[in-house]
């Protein structure tokens, strides 16, 4: 069991968990992920590591409730435990000094972006961040991102904070405003990463995306997370999770992410019904 040392709500249905996993923390680097399982009947879910403390032996995870398993994990409190935490998995993000790095985070993607932004900043890069969310109250990690960025831009879909629009609008403003960007890191929902990659392709700016494909084991065994990159099949668990955003077949991946949506919807429906009953009692 992996004890939860600290739990906090970051925003509506977004939870931060600090989990005791000393061996994972000892090896974790920016860009790595873990596979967690909650309960003996739980499924294995990949979650990107949003931070780690080698001294305390903890890793930080940020979870958004979108279905049954993620809702159950979001309901965990300090003192509870995750049944399994396996990691660190995947290749760490390749950090180098390139000049100016633009980190683009969509929604809950700011959690995995943060350690990467921090590492690029520490490597001596100028760091510009764009944080996008549907609405102001869904933005989190502001202090953290500010601490590692030279400039932070915000966008909201509803205009409640920062630029009224999408992260791509901010990226466009930055690049077309004359900023010489050498590398883009984009992490967030697949359509957002696709939109950023489509935009930066025009500018010829190297763009790395982090893919969180459906997977079972996370070690290269099931092949469920396969994704086409530059015409070749890759496993996002062991070949990624970072890939060249200009080469990823996003349309295929978007489709593959719906492989079990009917089952997921059914399980979530049942869960909500059960949970509702509990509340009535």
């Amino acid at each position: 069991m992996y004890k939860i040392e600290y739990a906090a709500d970051l925003a509506e249905s977004i939870k931060l968990l600090v989990v005791l996993a000393p061996m994972v923390a000892a090896k974790a680097q920016a860009g790595h992920f873990v596979v967690v399982r909650n309960g003996e009947k739980g499924e294995r879910i990949p979650l990107t590591i949003a931070g780690y403390d080698r001294q305390k032996g903890t890793i930080t995870l940020v979870v958004q409730s979108v279905g049954k398993s993620s809702s159950e994990i979001c309901a965990l409190q300090e003192g509870d435990a995750l049944t399994d935490v396996l990691g660190p998995l995947g290749h760490a993000t390749h950090i180098e000094r390139v000049g100016t790095v633009l980190c683009v985070a969509g929604g809950v993607g700011v959690a995995p972006v943060y350690p990467i932004a921090k590492a690029f900043k520490e490597a001596g890069n100028r760091l510009i961040s764009v944080i996008g969310a549907r609405s102001k109250d869904l933005i989190f990690f502001q202090t953290e991102m500010k601490a590692v960025s030279d400039v932070v831009h915000y966008t909201t879909d509803d205009g409640s904070y920062g630029l009224h629009g999408f992260v791509t609008d901010a990226v466009k403003n930055i690049v077309e405003g004359g900023e010489k960007v050498d590398k883009v890191i984009a992490i967030g929902p697949l359509p957002m990463m696709k939109a950023v990659a489509d935009l930066t392709r025009n500018y010829g700016i190297s763009t790395v995306v982090s893919l969180n494909a459906l997977m079972v084991d996370g070690t290269g065994m099931c092949g469920g997370c396969r994704v086409t990159v530059g015409g070749e099949t890759k496993f996002s668990c062991v070949d990624g999770p970072d890939f060249d955003g200009h080469k990823v077949d996003f349309a295929e991946l978007l489709r593959r992410q719906t492989r079990f949506s009917e089952e997921e919807k059914m399980a979530y429906g049942r869960y909500r019904k059960e949970e509702h009953k509990c509340r009535i009692r």
Partner: protein
């Protein structure tokens, strides 16, 4: 000479509706009757066919005397997983193929007797095995991978007096016995019992430990382990490399079986992991894994399951018993057929598989007649799910993170076949990670040889 005593089993009509084990196993009367067929040959050639060298006539002699617990004790001197081996070993190619009776009739059903003895012990032993006394001064040995090779090596090393820690990447033990072989062929409760026995010998199993990521072989030596055994298996699924393989509805056999076996998707939504099964499932391949996938698909409710295999019945590498069970259960065998493309609908789901028909030509390097495409024989098989089961390779993760560990071109670890020693002193390897995908018992045999040689190595080194 009489034939083997038949083993009663669930009828095909009944069993395709459940995941319960197919054969019931012998009862005492049947076991005694079958054991009485054994001639107890002095030279006991059967033992030569056993990769872990179980003294077969001796354990059968105990059964003849109704000393069933004694029979298991004989087996366990060599084999720590008898209930598993009694179920999944290809005895027809091993011990039983050496049985003298087999020359004129049917050999003794050694596997069924092994299974009987192990099951009898599990059901009747009053007290559990006592744990080996642990002392702080034992030499530490690390075993990587809790599959057949690793479990066997760990058990033997514990019996030799070492402090053994078994590092497993998944959240449950067994390797392919857990994620690959289905419940109806190897009930997981039996696996748990046999792993429990190995733990009772003092083996400490640690889960969620992916050596190569969570820790490295160098870390193990730094932590005071004096030797390492690598039994990480063949876990990387191969794909066909044909168009449409990434469509929704195409699984590797590994993904399909892992969802169902390790994650228990057949009990979704009670268990959280889903598996989606279509109306008509094609399983591509002809090995035991393909049979397991096909029979699993039937039990999940597919209307029709077709095995698509490019050679003929005789060339199929699956065990005779598996092919026979599959046929009884109504699996459609599309032999001498080969897929060339998987076709998708407008939403990206599988709607068919284009195949060609094959004929057998001259023998190839494997000695089997080479399948050749019949020109103009293309047709579309109407399927909505495809399970690709054409084999697995070695997972490169551990090798990539271990400098100096030599492999062959295919990525299998190079190990001396007599000692299982690798290119790194103190590091041994065995099972599928060395040989490529083979059998449970071959991996166990390698684990056993490695354990003996690790013991020799440590004694010579004075460790």
């Amino acid at each position: 000479m009489s034939d083997k005593v038949r083993m009663r089993e669930q009828s095909p009509e009944e069993r395709i509706k459940n995941f319960n084990e197919v054969p019931y196993g012998y009862d005492e009367r049947e076991a005694l009757q079958e054991a009485s067929r054994c001639l107890g040959c002095k030279k006991h050639p059967c033992t030569r066919g056993c990769p872990v060298e179980v003294n077969i006539p001796e354990f059968i002699a105990r059964i003849k005397e109704s000393d069933f617990i004694g029979a298991v004790e004989v087996i366990k001197r060599k084999n720590s997983l008898p209930a598993i081996c009694g179920r999944v070993c290809p005895q027809e190619n091993q011990c039983e193929s050496y049985c003298v009776l087999g020359r004129k009739g049917e050999p003794v059903a050694i596997g069924r007797l092994e299974r009987f003895a192990a099951d009898y012990e599990r059901e009747h032993r009053q007290t559990g095995m006592t744990a080996a006394p642990s002392s702080g001064s034992k030499t530490k040995v690390a075993v990587i991978g809790a599959g057949p090779a690793g479990l066997t090596a760990a058990a033997d090393l514990a019996l030799l007096g070492y402090e053994v820690v078994l590092f497993e990447a998944l959240h449950a033990p067994g390797g392919v016995l857990r994620y690959g072989i289905p419940e109806f062929r190897l009930p997981k409760a039996i696996l748990d019992e046999e792993v429990g026995y190995i733990r009772s010998l003092g083996v400490d199993i640690r889960y969620n430990m992916l050596v190569g990521a969570t820790l490295s072989i160098d870390d193990l030596f730094a932590d005071g382990y004096k030797a390492v055994f690598i039994g990480t298996g063949a876990g990387l699924p191969y794909f066909l490399g044909i168009p449409g393989e990434n469509l929704n509805g195409v699984y590797s056999a590994n993904e399909f079986l892992t969802r169902v076996n390790l994650m228990r998707a057949y009990r979704f939504p009670e268990y959280d992991t889903p598996v989606r099964i279509g109306r008509h499932v094609a399983v591509v391949g002809g090995g035991n894994v393909a049979m397991d996938a096909a029979r699993t698909a039937l039990r999940l409710g597919a209307d029709k399951v077709s095995i698509v295999y490019r050679r003929a019945w005789e060339e199929m590498p699956a065990r005779a018993e598996e092919k026979h069970h599959g046929r009884e259960e109504g699996i459609d065998f599309k032999l001498l057929n080969n897929p060339v493309a998987i076709l998708g609908d407008e939403k990206g789901w599988v709607k068919g598989m284009e195949c060609v028909r094959m004929e057998l030509g001259e023998p190839d390097e494997s000695g089997r007649r080479r399948p050749v495409v019949i020109e103009g024989s293309e047709y579309v098989l109407d399927v909505d799910t495809v399970v690709v089961s054409i084999g697995q390779g070695p997972n490169p993760l551990l090798v990539q993170s271990t400098s100096g560990l030599e492999t062959n071109k295919r990525g299998n670890i190079t190990a001396d076949p007599d000692t299982m020693a690798t290119s790194i002193p103190g590091v041994y390897a065995g099972g599928d990670i060395v040989t490529g995908a083979a059998t449970v018992i071959a991996a166990m045999g390698a684990g056993k040889i490695a354990a003996g040689n690790i013991d020799k190595y440590l004694k010579i080194k004075g460790l």
